[in-house]
């Protein structure tokens, strides 16, 4: 795995945001707009792209092989292309596959793209409930997406005696970062207090509406060009991929309880996620440890899952997340910079969006749109697919040699 350490870099980044106020575009248009910018940013010819990776087809644009739609529009002939279908983790998984593809020598440059304008076209609350549950054995009982995650939350709070007030701190700190970011969905709502969170409307016990992610105001398209290290030029502002890891424990919640492995991520429980395995692998590949990480971004959509992620990603021990958070571990002022655009709770959840990794990349380039983390060298991004089923963790670095 060490052979992959810092041997691939992001050399081109393109983003496209569209909101309900803009002319209506679909998810394919959104992604191609981002691709166009990423290719320009990398300064390469379109035909030098050897590999194209997308995540699975966007919820707002269901098609049988979405990656081929992208390839067909780009009018290039990749020697390697695939949808990376590990649920929501696949958006970051594309970069892991890109790093492996360029390091294998099969291709020199890989394009990864993602993004969905679903919130503009369809009722994603309804769609989401259908894709997060087993249609035969769970959906007939009427679970919502929050109620499926709440199964973890209830058990986690029970086993570790976590109070709603402990979890609320995460929503409050996320909101502080969002107030600095021009694109954050909740920026105009102003600061948040613990009291507001714990008294907000109950969606699915123990999850309240302010414990939950909010939908981003539209679509967030991203495209990234990944190159092998020997193709990097100084003008690229390269961000190196120092380490990555992936772990999938289940597709449906019920199946999470039927694992029969030995590690905490593999035994039947609802307190440890596959993020633990993914992060351990990313650390091992990078040679870095949690204390080397200058900022961390996660795509988990509820306060409890953020606390669980802080544990599984190694920033504190299992069961100590509440103490970590209560003692200022993720304080906006002097804690670990965590969800530095406001996160899913306050920046918003853009379906199939790579926005949390974009935030990490912009921070490391020194181009943060919100508050810039000073002297940031290493950033961690964690993407997950629900309900806490699939996980991809990546460590980025603006340092060439590790």
């Amino acid at each position: 795995m060490k052979a992959l350490r810092n041997n691939a870099a992001v050399i081109g980044l393109g983003t496209k945001i569209t909101t309900r106020d803009d002319p209506k575009i679909n998810s394919l248009q959104l992604q191609l707009a981002a691709c166009s910018d990423a290719i320009k940013d990398a300064g390469i010819d379109r035909h030098q792209i050897g590999a194209v990776f997308t995540c699975r087809a966007p919820m707002g644009y269901t098609s049988m092989q979405f990656n081929l739609r992208v390839v067909q529009e780009l009018k290039i002939v990749p020697s390697l292309t695939s949808e990376i279908t590990v649920h929501g983790a696949g958006v970051l998984g594309t970069l892991a596959h890109a790093a492996m593809a360029v390091n294998s020598g099969v291709v020199d440059y890989a394009l990864c793209c993602s993004g969905c304008t679903g919130p503009i076209w369809t009722d994603l609350v309804k769609v989401n409930a259908s894709i997060e549950a087993d249609l035969q054995f769970e959906a007939p009982y009427g679970p919502t997406t929050p109620s499926l995650y709440a199964q973890w939350a209830q058990r986690y709070m029970y086993e570790f005696n976590i109070k709603p007030e402990d979890l609320a701190i995460i929503a409050v700190e996320n909101r502080r970062w969002a107030l600095d970011h021009p694109d954050a969905a909740m920026r105009s709502k102003g600061p948040l207090t613990v009291e507001q969170v714990v008294n907000s409307k109950m969606l699915a016990s123990p999850i309240r509406i302010l414990d939950s992610s909010t939908w981003f105001k539209g679509g967030f398209g991203t495209a990234v060009i990944v190159a092998r290290a020997d193709k990097v030029r100084p003008e690229h502002k390269p961000i190196y991929i120092s380490g990555f890891g992936e772990a999938v424990t289940h597709e449906w919640l019920t199946d999470r309880m039927h694992l029969s492995g030995v590690e905490p991520s593999m035994t039947p429980n609802l307190t440890t996620t596959g993020a633990k395995i993914a992060a351990d692998r990313a650390y091992a590949m990078s040679g870095l440890k949690p204390s080397d990480i200058d900022l961390a971004e996660t795509s988990v959509p509820f306060t409890f899952a953020n606390m669980m992620a802080l544990e599984d990603l190694g920033f504190c021990k299992k069961g100590e997340g509440k103490d970590f958070v209560r003692s200022g571990g993720i304080s906006y002022d002097d804690g670990l910079p965590f969800n530095t655009n406001g996160g899913y709770l306050s920046f918003g959840q853009a379906p199939h969006g790579l926005h949390m990794a974009v935030e990490a990349l912009q921070q490391l380039r020194g181009e943060a749109m919100g508050k810039q983390v000073k002297n940031a060298r290493h950033a961690m991004a964690h993407f997950h697919g629900g309900p806490l089923a699939s996980h991809c963790v990546m460590i980025f670095s603006n340092q060439e040699g590790l």
Binding site: E138, G142, S147, A153, Q154, R155, L253, H258
Partner: protein
């Protein structure tokens, strides 16, 4: 909502069929049991381990032959959530309702509705007993009544 999961569900784009969602001959024994008000689970024909009705491979001995057996219907609440906002209007009449994972006596976990006695709360570890209930638009399904 009457879906025959044994035959699967056509996925349509207008008049065009794009595929067939999940035809499931492996779960027919479960749905036949539901019609008789019985909760049927799988038991490995070889090592006799119990499994969720969905399983295709025995994860203990890697064989794929199962017998259908009737679950005792006894278990405990492993975790739960009370839903205050339904996923679709067809479930609104049931609000608020509790969904959760039951740890069955046989050692498998089953997602279901959990029915507390009037005026009581659902709690982790509470003992439950199988019953059958009309459930939103989904028809008569297994559910679990709290007994402790």
């Amino acid at each position: 909502m009457d879906i025959d999961w044994g035959l699967g569900v056509p996925l349509m784009a207008g008049p065009y069929q794009m595929g067939l969602y999940e035809p499931s001959p492996e779960t027919v024994g479960f749905w036949e049991g539901v019609k008789r008000d019985q909760l049927m689970i799988k038991r490995c024909s070889s090592c006799r381990a119990y499994h969720h009705p969905r399983r295709i491979l025995c994860t203990h001995c890697n064989t794929s032959e199962f017998d259908w057996v009737q679950a005792s219907g006894n278990g405990i609440v492993y975790t739960f959530s009370t839903v205050h906002r339904a996923p679709r209007p067809e479930f609104d009449a049931d609000l608020p309702y509790t969904v959760g994972l039951i740890e069955l006596e046989e050692g498998i976990y089953f997602f279901s509705r959990i029915l507390p006695p009037p005026g009581k709360e659902v709690s982790i570890g509470a003992q439950v007993k199988l019953t059958f209930r009309e459930t939103g638009p989904s028809g008569r399904l297994p559910a679990f009544q709290i007994t402790s």
